[in-house]
Symmetry: C3
Subunit: 262 residues, 3 copies
């Protein structure tokens, strides 16, 4: 089981979810992905889930709660992708994972018997999603949770835009080193590949994408395809966010270079 | 095993406790509740423990360390409540859990054979409490740890006060959304129930308690019975702590409404 | 398995490492030591590892990543110490653990078959170290990972200096209480022991080392041998870092007292 929420790591909310799951499925291995997502920031949650899915084994259940609509009619869903399960609100949070991956099934979570006896109006993560995740972890069928769905919410705003000069993306994640990670994946770079583009952030230009941090001397501003397979902007052994005064939402432009050097 | 401390999550203290427990009871499932309790803040620790106990299965051992008296003569105790165990200093930290729940046994932790060979004077959590918790996790009897007790420390300061106009509580916890959670539990609202009260925080008045965040439009200041069964004050999709400049210790008044609307 | 990194707890990096390990060695118990090490701060990582090793059982694998040289020719190594394993870059990070402990074996991690199929140039923790750790956790031999080594990198800068007046150390770790923990271990205090020294930090003098926080009244500035067996400076029930405006790197001097009082 992985957990990805905007609850803050330090409090009763995350622990209560774990208590519910471990009460129902005692041998579960629990991995915290993040509980520090900016409150109600679906784009950040979507990025984090997409960044880890390739590293977890089949049968993993990913429980994610970034849920501005708690208490409204938004649905709760289970999505099966490549033998892993995602248990989350139907608000676009699954979008990053489905980029380049097809779901093999989607179900609504609706069965009133697979939830806590008293469902609060503010904390469906604990009261509905945790029992649903435990059901899957114990080998239960997703169809027990509710009917299959064919349409779910996807947000086009998570993809970079394109114009005649190149790609227009933005910073979606700031890591602990101050590296700026964008929403521009490697496969949007086309036939030219990484060497075919220059990168523009605020008033700074980076002539081309490099392969590794250590190619350049400390303090240099570089751009590269990071470990999450997306364009990122970094200062070698430094903090790009602080140096550039950039953060989540800062626009990042990729422009085609006249002459591509390999 | 759950862990609730004021040690900070990132450091050698929490890891050392886990190492000691896992060395003695290798199959233990460990859940971190919080390590970000304000240093030596017994009220906050007490609130957190009370908020999770209902969601953990029988047999769970809760190890909690908020211990301003480490190195003094304060006692270390085990409290059994509803089939769960609490291992902590005898300084009031257990108070929130015992609200509405009767302990089925209390023991002092005193056995010099169930502790690390070298007990430091500053870190009893690792040297005494962790081995005691491991003893219980392995099915050991609490009476092996020391003699039964009939009196422990409870702090009256954790309960809301009452006067002729209503209840006088305070904010005891600030969650990651900026919601202000008070020490006023639902059962203090009496026969009138949630609809019978107005809420007063600093210079703001909230006419009545609502049922869910989503009933009101974004930005509205609301008050409701939150997922921890206490009165809380929130801004819908916003941050009440920042909007009101309120925090832990801010007084919250509940006054009886002339006419109750359901 | 323990994890000690400078990645930040909240993000895809730590979760991806755990996913890789749990995919290969599903029953592993994972303990986070810290992910909040200052970026690329080898001294802090070294201190943390040294502080926990005595509390973990034989067979524990400690995976540590503080790796300014990722992408360069620095080696990745496995070190066996007292029946535990350390999997980390060869950059001095193991130094604190080897203080007073002899390694029983060192190997380079080089086997191209024990790593992820696609090794990124920026994230060897996930792509090389995690599979190596999983190999050991499953009972694999370290010699499968690569050839034995006889020389590794050790940094003399982690030890306190000495002059005619006494010892010159520095603060290497700031805990959540604001206690200042130095790089001066108990065994450097010589025959005089703790009572033989006065402590000097910034413009403040502490006449002698005390045994426990609770010996002095709240607010007093004290120095003592802390739970990590090093000299630390604290304010009783207060925050020494804030009171003194001190932090990592602040020099701490120990001077011999004329007359030692026991």
């Amino acid at each position: 089981l992985t957990l990805t929420t905007d609850f803050g790591a330090d409090g009763p909310y995350v622990a209560a979810i774990k208590g519910v799951v471990l009460g129902l499925a005692p041998r579960t291995q629990v991995v915290d992905v993040s509980h520090a997502i900016a409150p109600q920031d679906i784009a950040e949650g979507s990025f984090l889930l997409a960044g880890i899915v390739d590293y977890f084994p089949g049968g993993t259940v990913h429980l994610a709660v970034v849920d501005p609509g708690v208490g409204t009619e938004r649905r709760l869903i289970v999505v099966e992708v490549g033998g892993q399960w995602f248990v989350l609100p139907d608000n676009g949070l699954i979008g990053g994972v489905l980029r380049g991956r097809d779901p093999s099934g989607i179900w609504e979570i609706r069965n009133p018997e697979i939830r806590l006896p008293n469902v609060s109006s503010t904390f469906h993560g604990r009261d509905i999603l945790a029992p649903a995740a435990a059901h899957l972890l114990r080998g239960g069928k997703p169809a027990d949770l509710g009917p299959p769905l064919t349409r779910i919410v996807l947000l086009s705003s998570l993809e970079p835009a394109e114009d005649e000069n190149g790609l227009i993306g933005e910073v979606v994640y700031l890591d602990s080193f101050g590296n700026l990670i964008t929403n521009i994946p490697r496969d949007r770079l086309g036939a030219a590949g990484p060497s075919g583009w220059s990168v523009h952030v605020l008033d700074r230009t980076i002539d081309r994408l490099t392969r590794t941090y250590a190619e350049s001397s400390p303090g240099t501003l570089v751009s590269l395809i990071g470990s999450s397979n997306r364009v990122e902007v970094a200062v070698v052994n430094g903090d790009a966010a602080r140096s550039l005064k950039a953060g989540r939402g800062t626009p990042v432009f990729l422009r085609r270079r006249r002459e591509s050097l390999t």
